[in-house]
């Protein structure tokens, strides 16, 4: 089963991804990101959806539905402004959920 990869973000952050064969969805209006994400995720054409950290946090409600599914994998990436630490925070949240307290990252 071959699926594509998508990336959602502001044009500044994701402009390069088109050149390496990833489908770009430019979203310069943060409030639109939820709908855009939902539309992309529901097509089921994409195995991986990368999102800039800012939009990733805005779409938490829309993402919840896909958390238990194997695909798509929704992964935050740092935007052009640099990493906000949201990706790492997400990991420590997983540890917290599984273990009960964050034992790995110590914050």
């Amino acid at each position: 089963m071959v699926k594509n990869i998508a990336v959602i973000g502001d044009s500044e952050s994701i402009k390069g991804f088109g050149a390496v064969g990833i489908d770009m969805f430019i979203c310069d209006e943060p409030l639109e990101s939820g709908n855009l994400f939902k539309r992309i995720a529901e097509t089921e054409d994409y195995a991986i959806i990368y999102m800039t950290e800012e939009l990733f946090e805005l779409c938490s409600r829309e993402r919840a539905k896909f958390a238990e599914k194997i695909i798509p994998a929704v992964i935050p990436i740092p935007s052009a402004q640099g990493s906000s630490g949201a990706g790492r925070k997400r990991l420590s949240k997983f540890v917290e959920q599984a273990v009960g307290s964050d034992i790995l990252f110590g914050n």
Partner: protein
């Protein structure tokens, strides 16, 4: 701990004992599952963290290249050079089962490792910084896909561990004590019934003997 609302009969007790045994066995098995899942999860999370830091650093590096490129080229030309792509990068989706959790396996397809092939634009009107940027980004791609795979696995495993932990706790702290107490209650109730019927019989026997022989009259 509240006991269950059951009739204190021998049959009920046998049934509960059987259920307790099953609950104990289930508890042991779930505990083993939780421990093994946890071990694998911690390993995976460590790996994910390392990879994420690496990928984030690489992406930042790419970004710097793009900034350089946009410094020497005008914005429109830059964006139009990047608009189209020579190939579509896809991933082959496969599945793996870790302790009953289905996790995805992604392997990249169609991507070209051939340095000359990846550029979707002609070299004549673009700067070499842009070439650098695209080459770098192409290099990050395998790691980026790997990151997606293991981060998704972490997410799925964390959810499963949470569920398993809840089950283990509910068995350990609610179900099993409740069974134990109910069984104890029934056992005590049965013993009590036994004693009361025995004393009743003794009393009845006394009364019958009294009636037949009239001991109390004789030995006054």
């Amino acid at each position: 701990m509240a006991i269950m609302n059951v009739n204190p009969t021998r049959m009920q007790m046998t049934k509960l004992k059987k259920q307790l045994q099953i609950a104990r066995r289930g508890h042991k098995m779930l505990k083993d599952k939780r421990d093994e899942l946890m071990r694998q999860f911690i390993e995976l999370v460590r790996e994910t963290k390392k990879l994420r830091e690496k990928v984030e650093a690489q992406l930042e590096n790419c970004n710097n290249h793009f900034i350089n490129a946009s410094a020497v080229m005008n914005k429109k030309a830059l964006e139009s050079s990047l608009m189209s792509s020579k190939h579509q990068t896809g991933v082959e989706v496969d599945g793996k089962n870790i302790m009953s959790v289905d996790v995805p396996l992604f392997s990249q397809v169609h991507g070209s490792d051939d340095g000359g092939e990846i550029f979707p634009y002609g070299f004549a009107f673009t700067s070499f910084e842009l070439d650098d940027a695209v080459t770098e980004l192409n290099k990050v791609l395998p790691d980026l896909i790997k990151l997606a795979e293991i981060e998704k696995s972490c997410e799925l495993m964390a959810a499963e561990i949470e569920r398993t932990r809840r089950r283990v706790n509910s068995l350990e702290h609610v179900m099993i004590p409740r069974y134990e107490e109910t069984i104890k209650y029934i056992a005590m109730k049965l013993e009590e019934n036994d004693r009361s019927s025995r004393t009743r019989l003794m009393k009845v026997k006394d009364m019958l003997l009294e009636k037949a022989h009239g001991y109390s009259e004789k030995y006054k």
